[in-house]
Amino acid sequence: MSNPSQQSDHIVPPKVYAAVFLTLLLFTFITYKVAFVDLGEWNVVVALLIAFFKSTLVALFFMHVYYSRRRTSVVVLSALVWLFFLIFITMSDYLTRHWLY
């Protein structure tokens, strides 16, 4: 059972951390710069897509999800699914009320 590939304490090489770190800084700079460009409604979309990309990098590499057992991914995905329900169901109410009244 203690096959190394199944252990959750995979040692991630510092090179990987450094690459992730530089990418995160780069995309922070990009999201900051893009915020001053008028994309209309798309500013929110672009900002959230960049945030999602950055948080995915943090989770996969800094938090070792990429190297962990699949069970860890199930917990992460279940959190995202619940968050989706929370936001989707509530907003489907709030954003459609004026259809009726």
């Binding site: 040692i11 995160l24 001053f36 948080s55 943090v58 800094f62 938090m63």
Partner: protein, 215 residues
């Protein structure tokens, strides 16, 4: 009796199983934290959808430069935290201690900058329930925006303060030489928490500071 046997609790078969159980527990806790912050993010989304113009105007009262600086500071602290985990897994005590100190130092820099931003809001009469003054026509929704700003960033800052407490405990144990390549779980789990708090800020920064700058 070897070091690892004394660390292994009786109800676990071996060290990998014990580490696995601890890691799973931490991830389940972080999933509940997603729900915890999720409610506030949702409240923000609903109210921004209801008052887009006033929220946009109110959000431009924030200092984007300080917000961006803080984002970079937190990313740096995540990097040093990741290195702390690496050094603990490698059994390099001095490097571990230095990484932990750097992480905590950057956490303090973040809180200091956040404090400067808060002080500015107090000076500009933008604190709901204390000294809020705003153009009367949009005062209500603007107050909502600043309530959410303080609620979200305040809860985040509280998590940072708790994180600093956790890292202090880890630092003390690291100085005592408690962590070895066989046993570094507390460093790893504190790292998960620290990175999670970073992820929350990765969403707070664009949502509170950036998305209405172009208007």
């Amino acid at each position: 009796m070897s070091e690892s046997e004394s660390i292994l609790r009786g109800h676990f078969r071996d060290m990998p199983q014990q580490r696995d159980a601890s890691s799973l527990g931490m991830w389940v806790f972080l999933a509940t934290e997603v729900m915890f912050f999720g409610g506030l993010f949702l409240t923000y989304t609903v109210n921004r959808a209801a008052y887009p113009a006033i929220f946009a105007q109110a959000s431009r009262q924030l200092d984007v430069t300080l917000g961006a600086t803080n984002t970079a500071v937190l990313i740096c602290s995540s990097m040093t935290m990741a290195m702390a985990v690496y050094f603990s897994q490698k059994g390099k005590r001095t490097a571990l201690v230095i990484s932990l100190l750097l992480t905590m130092g950057l956490g303090l820099v973040f809180l200091t900058i956040k404090g400067m931003e808060y002080a500015e809001k107090f000076r500009h009469h933008l604190v709901p329930g204390y000294n809020f003054q705003y153009a009367p026509a949009s005062a209500g929704p603007a107050q909502l925006y600043f309530s959410l700003y303080f609620g979200l960033t305040g809860l985040h800052a509280l998590h940072m303060i708790i994180g600093l407490g956790i890292l202090t405990a880890v630092l003390i144990e690291a100085l005592r030489g408690r962590y070895t390549p066989e046993y570094s779980t507390p460093v790893e789990l504190s790292g998960l928490y620290w990175h999670f708090v970073d992820i929350i800020w990765i969403y707070l920064f664009p949502l509170l500071y950036l998305i209405d700058l172009h208007r």
